[in-house]
Structure formats: structure tokens, C-alpha cells
């Protein structure tokens, strides 16, 4: 069975041939994956090369979407979206209809206090322009516009406390 691990614009195609063999880039390799008593901790040996890996499954953004996995390896963190051949094809058929309304949402990346709004309703903003200043842990953090557009909605007011993930404003 062929599987896909996607990260940014890259897609790794990995074919699992058995419980201890896979192929990637047209080359076959042996592997031995073992989980420790700590659920996140794994030992992966590929053709004699040993890797200490920590992995956790991330919650998918919506039901039916592919699984997301965070992999920690040699000090680095990678987040992959996992897919298999069949679901991937299925998804490609329907992807045209998928909405993009979420991408204009300006979201609080951590809990904090809105100390200043930097935009007004209807204002035109470029990607990266400051939208609001949120204070968290005694530091001011400028929250920026994720896309170019017009400020369609301002959800919060100054001095308001916000939770992580709260929408501050919507650019469209």
C-alpha cells in the first residue's frame, strides 16, 4: 500500500511492503519500529541506522480530513499530514469545493490581553501588517494579517482578554 506524508509543499511517497520493509524513492529498505512504554517514544532502525523518535498525533482540523502527526527527531519538529492512495484521490475530486474562508481569520496565538487594535473596519491591509497587539506574559506581541485584503470584521475590543485560538478580526 502507498502512503503519503506531506509537509509544506513536499510530499513523501512511502510504500509499506511488509511489517519490516518499505520503499521510498524507488529503493527498498528494512525497518524495525518499536514503541517504548512511554506512548510518544519510539526507536526506529532503518537498515541498521538508529533513530530516537517522539511522535504524537495532532487533532485534525475537521472530521474526515487526513491525520496529522508531529514528529520530533534530533531536536527538530516536523508536522506531517498523512494520507493513503485511495483517500488522496477521493480528496482530490472534492477539493475544488473546499472553502477558504478560514484563511483570512486573525487568530490569537496564545491567551492574553488585547492592548491595542491597529486597524479599523474596512481598512485595506497587506499580508504581515499589524492588526492588534496582544500582551501575554508581560510581552507585547503584534498579531499580523495572514493575507492581503480588507478588514471585514473586528471581533474584539481593546482591554479584552482572549483565549488561544480566538478570532480577533477577519480579513477578506
Amino acid at each position: 500500500m502507498k502512503y503519503f506524508a506531506e509537509i509544506d509543499d513536499l510530499s513523501y511517497q512511502i510504500e509499506l511492503k511488509s511489517d519490516n520493509h518499505f520503499s521510498i524513492d524507488g529503493k527498498a529498505h528494512s525497518f524495525d519500529l518499536m514503541r517504548s512504554s512511554k506512548p510518544e517514544q519510539f526507536s526506529l532502525i532503518i537498515d541498521g541506522q538508529s533513530y530516537q523518535v517522539w511522535m504524537e498525533k495532532l487533532n485534525s482540523t475537521s472530521a474526515g480530513s487526513p491525520a496529522r502527526v508531529r514528529v520530533h527527531l534530533s531536536g527538530y519538529d516536523f508536522e506531517f499530514t498523512l494520507d493513503d492512495e485511495r483517500s488522496k484521490k477521493l480528496r482530490e475530486y472534492t477539493s475544488a469545493e473546499s472553502s477558504t474562508e478560514d484563511e483570512g481569520r486573525v487568530v490569537a496565538p496564545m491567551p492574553g490581553l488585547v492592548v491595542k487594535l491597529l486597524v479599523e473596519l474596512g481598512q485595506k491591509v497587506k499580508k504581515g501588517d499589524g492588526v492588534a497587539i496582544v500582551e501575554a506574559m508581560k510581552m507585547e506581541n503584534e498579531i499580523r494579517a495572514p493575507i492581503i485584503g480588507e478588514v471585514r470584521e473586528i471581533v474584539v475590543t481593546e482591554k479584552q482578554a482572549v483565549e488561544k485560538g480566538d478570532t480577533l478580526a477577519v480579513i477578506g
Binding site: 502512503y3 513523501y12 519500529l33 506512548p39 519510539f42 514528529v71 520530533h72 527538530y76 516536523f78 498523512l82
Partner: protein, 502 residues
């Protein structure tokens, strides 16, 4: 010597102070907010007193409640750690008025050095070089623009009561001045309760070099060499080391003497740090004096062998310094990485949550000062510092190699961390060559490199993800005499705050 001291702090520094006191046979009293009932410092101390709800203002900044706890617990002295009330002259005074010993400098020294404008004045009188700038605090407005023009852009806006890089802004052009002064003033008001700011000349590409001093109550003042703290992000130190790669023995003697003069000039007692900017022509300028133990004190401890917290306790108890200037040696090299719960790939935003897994590095030369533990929490209320990872080596190259290995072994699950970012710095050629200044991160560190890792690592990670998710990994075998494994977490793990184990 004291029989019992109270530690008016939390996290790694409270743990650090408890350990030093324990080694000296001094009992310790922890104070804890409701959020810290199970914190390491609460558990490790001999006594523990609750001082209020989680927000700092209602607990760790509550002077009266802390002094009351010291009375209840019959503590004789209070160690403030760093942050919170450490540089609060009123608190130091109140401690003394309550008949207790404040383990730190006299209130007047805190007050004088806390007001950056006053500190500059004292240093100028004592012949310690300072950067050009305003003599006193200044309001945002026309006057400020004129002064900034005179000093010459770029200029630096600094909080008069500031410290630690908060309430600071660099201004390159006159049109940015007003906005920056407002922002700095707002941050200063929030961080220090004082919106006043002042302007000084902004040095291009300086190094941040600071000198650790110890001053007893008998007129003895010594310095314990320098620390280089040039690796900063948004004026916050991230990586520190001792000794500095650019300081020669002659320069060390010169800057050390200036730091000792600075400490004498403000009537300093106890451990303190004189911070200097060091420019490309090897000039140094007094920046500020931190009237407390520094976060980065371990690099000095690991290269001199001197336990700074123990020295603080001995000085506060009135003992004369037993270390003479000529006894202070440098052995090897030490580097500290401040491991924060933050997401370098998302603008370094603080990351809160429970520490699901905490695997700390070990081995020769590695010290990891931490106040957190598996199952503990990085909360919104406090500093997101996870630990201070320190590596000692026979020379700088060995210290870097050890730090790299330790960073690779370190793993934290549940929150994001800057481990990969620190690793990236260790792998940056300019860092390895010691060619660093306070702009190092902007100029030399490509965050995208961190995001990508190496091509090979990314590929291995993809293989790990696919094999773990789509095949059935074996569980560790239990040999004869062992205990049967619990039910597979793969089968039982449910959804837990948006995350489930693979």
C-alpha cells in the same frame, strides 16, 4: 549564618536557591500561588506557604503576604531570586523594616540603579564610561525629537525603571520616534509600573558583555569575570557564555576594574552584575547594573567553581568574602541556552499547556536547571522558561559540541520549545567562530533552516510517521522476570485536548 530563609520566587531559580541553602544546612521556606501547589519548589522546600491566587500581582508580587509568610514560618531572611520583587527597593526596605534580612543589595542601591537615568549619572561621576544620551526621563513630544536629532539616529528608547530588555525600542528615523516612545512607555508601564522612558545613543552591532561582582559588608568588592550575552532576541538574552570569545586578560582586568568601581560608586553589597556594551573598537560603555542574581549566573559558576547563591547567603549573613580577586580563575568554557516554551516558527509566541513528556539531557559537563517536571504545566501566569541548559567544556569548541548533543537529546512534549532554534544557533558558522553581536539572530539565523531541518532528517521523520501510523509498532519486549506491559496506549488513548497519541 541563617537557620531558615524564605524564597520569594518560583520556578527554576527557587529550586536553585533551595539546593544551595540545603547544602549549607539552612532550612528553606517556599511560597506558592494556587497554581504552584505541586510545583517543584513547593515540594523541595522544608516549608511551604500559600500566598494567593495564580496572577503574580496577587501572589509573588504581594509584598505584605510574603513578609507575613516569613513571619509565620520564622524565617530570618528573604531571597528574592530574579524578576518579581528582586529589584523592588520598597520590598527590600519593607523586609528590613520587618526585622528580616533582605538577601540582596541595600534599598538605596536598588533604587539608584533601577532609575536608569540616575544610574548613568552615578557612573559618569565614578569615571565609568556611559553612552551619550539624555540625563533624565523624557515625554514623547517635540522636545524628544530634538534631543534624538542631537544624539544622532539610530537612538534607543529605554524604560527609566526598566531592565531585562522590556520597554525598549530602537528608532532609526525621526518619523518612528513618537510611535516607538509610546509603545516603549506602554510596555514599561505594564512591566514596571512606570511609563517614563529616556533616550540614548544606539550603538551599531555592539556585544553585550557583563561582569559579575560580589561585594560584602566589609568593603571588599571583587569581580568573577565576564559573561557574553550577545545572542538576544527582542532584547532578551537567549544564549550566554563565559568567558567571552573576545575578551583578553588585559581587557578583562580593565572592564573588571570598571565594574568594581561601579559597584563601589553605588554602595553595592551582595551579588550584582554590571552590564556593558562593547563596540567594534573595543570600547565599553556602562549600560545598566542588575542588582540581583542573573538568570545566566550558572556560566560563571561553571567556569569559576564558585557557587554564587552560597556567596549571596554568606554576604547577607555578614560574613566577609573569603575569595580574593587573585583566587578567581577561569576553567574551561560554559554556554547556557534558555529553553523556553515558545514556538519559533510562529513568531516565538509563548506556548502554554501541560508537559506531557520531559526527557532531559545528561552526561559530562551538562547541567540543566529546571523548575518544571513531567505532568507540570506552563501556565499563562508566569515566564515560559522551561529550563536553563548549560554545557561546560575544556574549551569553547567542546562546550558547543556538548550543547549540541544535549539539545539533540532533549525532548519536551505538550508545549512547543525553542530547542531546534538553539540548535540552529549552535550550528551557525558565525557563532562557532565567536563572531557575535546583539544583531546576531537577525543577521545570521535563518528560521527557515530550522523549519526544514536537513533533507535527510525530514525524510526519516516522514518514514517514522508513516510506519508508526500505518503499521503496528512492536511494544518493548518484557523479558523473563519483568512485568507484563499495560494495555497498549494505541488502543486506549482517547482525545485529550485536541491531541491523541499515535
Amino acid at each position: 549564618m541563617f537557620n531558615r530563609i524564605l524564597i520569594a520566587n518560583r520556578g527554576e531559580i527557587a529550586v536553585r536557591i533551595i539546593r544551595a541553602a540545603r547544602e549549607m544546612g539552612i532550612e528553606t521556606v517556599a511560597v506558592y500561588s494556587d497554581a504552584d501547589r505541586m510545583a517543584l519548589h513547593t515540594r523541595l522546600a522544608d516549608y511551604a506557604y500559600n500566598i494567593g491566587p495564580p496572577p503574580s500581582a496577587e501572589s509573588y508580587l504581594n509584598k505584605e503576604r510574603i513578609i507575613e509568610a516569613a513571619r509565620q514560618a520564622k524565617a530570618e531572611a528573604i531571597h528574592p531570586g530574579y524578576g518579581f520583587l528582586a529589584e523592588n527597593a520598597d520590598f527590600a526596605g519593607a523586609v528590613t523594616n520587618a526585622g528580616l534580612t533582605f538577601i540582596g543589595p541595600p534599598p538605596q542601591a536598588i533604587r539608584d540603579m533601577g532609575l536608569k537615568t540616575r544610574a548613568r549619572e552615578i557612573m559618569q561621576k565614578a569615571g565609568v564610561p556611559v553612552t551619550p544620551g539624555t540625563e533624565s526621563a523624557i515625554e514623547p513630544g517635540k522636545g524628544a525629537e530634538k534631543i534624538a536629532q542631537e544624539i544622532g539616529y539610530p537612538v534607543l528608547i529605554k524604560a527609566a525603571s526598566g531592565g531585562g530588555g522590556k520597554g525598549m525600542r530602537i528608532v532609526h528615523k525621526p518619523e518612528e520616534l513618537l510611535k516607538s516612545m509610546e509603545a516603549a512607555s506602554r510596555e514599561a508601564a505594564s512591566a514596571f509600573g512606570d511609563p517614563q522612558v529616556y533616550i540614548e545613543k544606539y550603538l551599531e552591532s555592539p556585544r553585550h558583555i557583563e561582569i559579575q561582582v560580589l561585594a560584602d559588608h566589609h568593603g571588599n568588592v571583587i569581580h568573577l569575570n565576564e559573561r557574553e550575552c550577545s545572542i538576544q532576541r527582542r532584547h532578551q538574552k537567549v544564549i550566554e557564555e563565559a568567558p567571552s570569545p573576545v575578551i583578553t586578560p588585559e581587557l578583562r582586568e580593565k572592564i573588571g576594574a570598571a565594574a568594581v568601581a561601579a559597584a563601589r560608586a553605588c554602595g553595592y553589597q551582595n551579588a550584582g552584575t554590571v552590564e556593558f556594551l562593547f563596540d567594534k573598537r573595543r570600547n565599553f560603555y556602562f549600560m545598566e547594573m542588575n542588582t540581583r542574581l542573573q538568570v545566566e549566573h550558572p556560566v560563571t559558576e561553571m567556569t569559576t567553581g564558585i557557587d554564587l547563591v552560597k556567596e549571596q547567603l554568606k554576604i547577607a549573613a555578614g560574613e566577609p568574602l573569603t575569595i580574593k580577586q587573585e583566587d578567581v580563575k577561569i576553567s574551561g568554557h560554559a554556554i547556557e541556552c534558555r529553553i523556553y516554551a515558545e514556538d519559533p516558527l510562529n513568531n516565538f509566541f509563548p506556548s502554554t499547556g501541560r508537559i506531557d513528556y520531559f526527557h532531559t539531557p545528561a552526561g559530562p559537563g551538562i547541567r540543566n536547571d529546571s523548575g518544571i517536571f513531567e505532568g507540570g504545566e506552563i501556565s499563562v501566569y508566569y515566564d515560559p522558561l522551561i529550563s536553563k541548559l548549560v554545557a561546560w567544556g575544556g574549551d569553547r569548541a567542546e562546550a558547543i559540541q556538548r550543547m549540541k548533543g544535549a539539545l539533540q537529546e532533549y525532548h519536551i512534549a505538550g508545549v512547543h520549545s525553542n530547542i531546534a532554534f538553539c540548535l540552529l544557533v549552535m550550528n551557525t558558522p558565525a557563532f562557532v567562530d565567536g563572531k557575535i553581536d546583539t544583531h546576531f539572530i537577525e543577521q545570521h539565523v535563518q528560521l527557515s533552516d530550522m523549519a526544514e531541518g536537513s533533507e535527510e532528517l525530514r525524510k526519516i521523520a516522514a518514514i517514522a510517521a508513516v510506519t508508526a501510523f500505518h503499521s503496528e509498532p512492536k511494544a518493548a519486549k518484557i523479558s523473563k522476570g519483568g512485568i507484563p506491559s499495560a494495555i497498549s496506549p494505541w488502543l486506549t488513548s482517547g482525545r485529550r485536548n485536541g491531541r491523541e497519541h499515535i
